[in-house]
């Protein structure tokens, strides 16, 4: 019955199908480029910033953009460009860290809830639904106000508010995957639940979660901006794009550059993460080849 073919026959094999698909997607590459651009700025911020972002200078209050102050100055005479470069750190951190909190808490709950079912599922699902009943931003504001105003607390608040989405998404995916023959096959060889979840469930539910995570980074950056705008995020004098917008709103007609540049930065980074997430979703879908 065995077929006589040389064992050392090397088969041609497509490597990194996902990567090549992603690289071929123009809008995804643009998104990745934008995200990378802002990450580089955030990492190299102290080297890039031409002026002190914190120290007021009363001789240069609300100057329009010029060769010295590229994006103009704010109401305390600080360079808007320098503040934005330093503020990129807070905004990116807020986006990534809060989503990390949401994923690290939400995905395990979703896995347990979907896989084991029964009263565990009922408890987790009802709690999640209760949290989802409160609008995302309202919930984040309430949590941030409760924890006290600081960037760290804002990230925790945003992470906890974004968590229920991940619990539900993961649970739904697990319910689909759990019904597959290969999961039953894993039980049939006697694989313990821990390994079934780790090897069979998690890798198969991960792609939509990854996509949701990149899209949520964008939401979280907006949420941080909103919290900072309300004074619940980054505390003065430290900059973040949201808190810069917060003060800029008072000078909309006198100094529009104060709001234009941070607003554009938020727009671009959110666009970047959204394009990146969409591209990731298309690349990870094995049915589209």
């Amino acid at each position: 019955m065995t077929i006589a073919i040389a064992d050392d026959l090397v088969l041609p094999r497509k490597r990194n199908r996902i990567l090549s698909k992603f690289l071929g997607n123009r809008s995804a590459m643009m998104g990745a480029g934008l995200v990378l651009f802002f990450i580089v700025i955030a990492v190299l911020a102290p080297l890039i910033a031409p002026h002190d972002p914190i120290k007021p200078s009363f001789s240069t209050i609300r100057k329009a953009p010029s060769a010295i102050f590229w994006f103009g100055t704010d109401e305390l005479g600080r360079d808007v460009f320098s503040r934005m470069v330093i503020g990129a750190r807070a905004s990116l951190m807020a986006g990534v860290v809060s989503v990390a909190i949401a994923v690290l808490l939400g995905v395990p709950f979703g896995l347990i809830s979907g896989y084991f079912g029964g009263w565990i599922d009922a408890t987790i699902s009802r709690s999640t639904e209760a949290m989802l009943a409160i609008p995302f931003l309202i919930f984040a504001i309430a949590l941030a106000a409760f924890l006290g105003p600081s960037l760290t607390n804002a990230m925790i608040a945003i992470g906890l508010s974004a968590m229920p989405i991940f619990v539900r998404l993961t649970r739904g995916q697990v319910l689909t995957i759990k019904a597959e023959d290969y999961v039953e096959g894993a039980r049939a060889i006697g694989l313990p639940n821990f390994w079934i979840i780790l090897r069979y469930i998690l890798p198969n539910v991960l792609p939509p979660i990854l996509v949701q995570a990149t899209l949520t980074v964008a939401t979280a950056i907006i949420a941080e901006a909103s919290l900072s705008f309300l004074g619940l995020g980054q505390q003065p004098p430290n900059p973040s794009w949201g808190s810069m917008l917060n003060t800029a709103k008072n000078f909309m007609s006198q100094a529009p550059w104060m709001s234009f540049f941070p607003g554009s930065a938020i727009f671009l980074i959110v666009l970047g993460f959204n394009l990146f997430g969409d591209g990731l979703r298309d690349a990870l879908d094995p049915r589209e080849n």
Partner: protein
């Protein structure tokens, strides 16, 4: 334990599986997927379970492996009840009993490569490590007609037949004694079906396996199996040696199933008395004999009294009040009618031509 028991590898007694009707909020409808099935599979035989879709044959297969817990009844593997076993012991036992699934596209984890898929049971049960494990995986792949270089690939890179071979290699990896095939070939192309059936038979002989084949294709069953259990609405209605069953079916349902097989004979074109109507819902099975709504021989007694599986000649079992009467009436036996004179004449002509042709075509041999 008597001497016979050692011959039995797996048996079920009064096995029942009902779905639904459990909690406060769930649907009150109870689906009686498997309702009181008692059967025993002898070591080394190929045992077939056959029936229409929805008759509970796949559920029965999963109950035998304890992939789902029964509502009532018992499953004994090598004389030991497996239902009360603690999770750890059950996991060890799972090495000896394996399953091959129907759908080759859903039965392999798309995120694992073939080497990991086939090697996992070896790793899990600590049968081999490192290079020895890789050698075993390569051996298994060769055994099922693949090449070791395929190990690096992922399931989506294979055809249905190849995937089924991977599934079989994985099932063999734990060195099982019993393999349950849940319609192992029905999703495959007919030409591939034969290959997989031959492979299973070859493996059965080589490794001394016991096969339980769940199927709805009678041709596959006749070819492969030693004994057949015919299921209807969650119950076994007839259990018999394969040859006896096909030559002389006792239960009217079995007779109906066999009548439905197309006979390749040009003179047998008259309409056949096929089964009327659909299978009744297992959520509301008919009273008395479950087959009475579709049975051509149904009498008043069939509506009221549920027939038990009773012993017939040659170790056969049948669940019908009137099987003796039906058998004496001579209905249902599958015999091809004698060929017409014209066909006989043509066949004779062809035969003589063939012989002459063979002689002239191969003079040297």
């Amino acid at each position: 334990m008597n001497t016979q028991a050692s011959d039995i590898i797996i048996e079920s007694t009064g096995l029942v599986k009902h779905f639904g009707g459990g909690g406060l909020l769930s649907s009150p409808t109870i689906v009686r997927a498997v309702d009181g099935v008692s059967m025993a599979v002898k070591r080394g035989e190929t045992f077939a379970i056959v029936g229409e879709s929805g008759c509970g044959k796949s559920t029965l297969g999963r109950l035998l492996l304890r992939l789902i817990e029964p509502t009532a009844g018992d499953v004994r593997y090598e004389g030991r009840s497996i239902l009360g076993l603690p999770p750890n012991e059950m996991r060890k036992l799972r090495r000896e009993m394996q399953i091959i699934f129907q759908d080759p596209f859903g039965s392999l984890n798309p995120r694992m490569n073939v080497r990991d898929i086939v090697g996992e049971p070896i790793w899990l049960h600590g049968l081999a490590h490192g290079a020895e494990k890789q050698e075993r995986v390569a051996d298994l792949l060769r055994t099922v007609g693949l090449i070791p270089a395929h190990g690096e690939r992922y399931p989506h890179e294979f055809s249905g037949g190849q995937r089924q071979r991977i599934g079989i290699a994985r099932a063999l990896a734990g060195e099982p004694k019993l393999i349950i095939g849940d319609e192992p070939v029905s999703a495959l192309d007919v030409s591939i079906q034969a290959q997989i059936i031959n492979l299973l038979e070859h493996l059965k002989d080589r490794f001394g396996l016991t096969l339980v084949i769940i199927a709805h294709d009678l041709a596959v069953i006749r070819h492969m199996s030693d004994r057949v259990a015919v299921m209807y609405l969650g119950e076994i209605v007839e259990l018999s040696d394969t040859d006896d069953l096909f030559d002389d079916p006792l239960h009217p349902y079995t007779q109906a199933l066999l009548t439905a097989i197309p006979v390749p004979s040009p003179v047998n074109r008259q309409p056949k008395p096929l089964l009327q109507g659909d299978v009744p819902s297992p959520a509301a099975p008919p009273s008395g004999c479950r087959f009475h709504t579709r049975c051509p021989h149904a009498k008043a007694r069939c509506r009221e009294e549920h027939p038990r599986l009773e012993a017939a000649a040659d170790g056969r079992q049948v669940a019908c009040h009137f099987w003796r009467e039906i058998q004496n009436a001579g209905s249902g036996a599958l015999t091809a009618p004698p060929a017409s004179p014209a066909l006989t004449k043509r066949l004779a002509l062809y035969k003589t031509w063939r012989e002459r042709h063979d002689k002239t075509a191969t003079p040297g041999l």
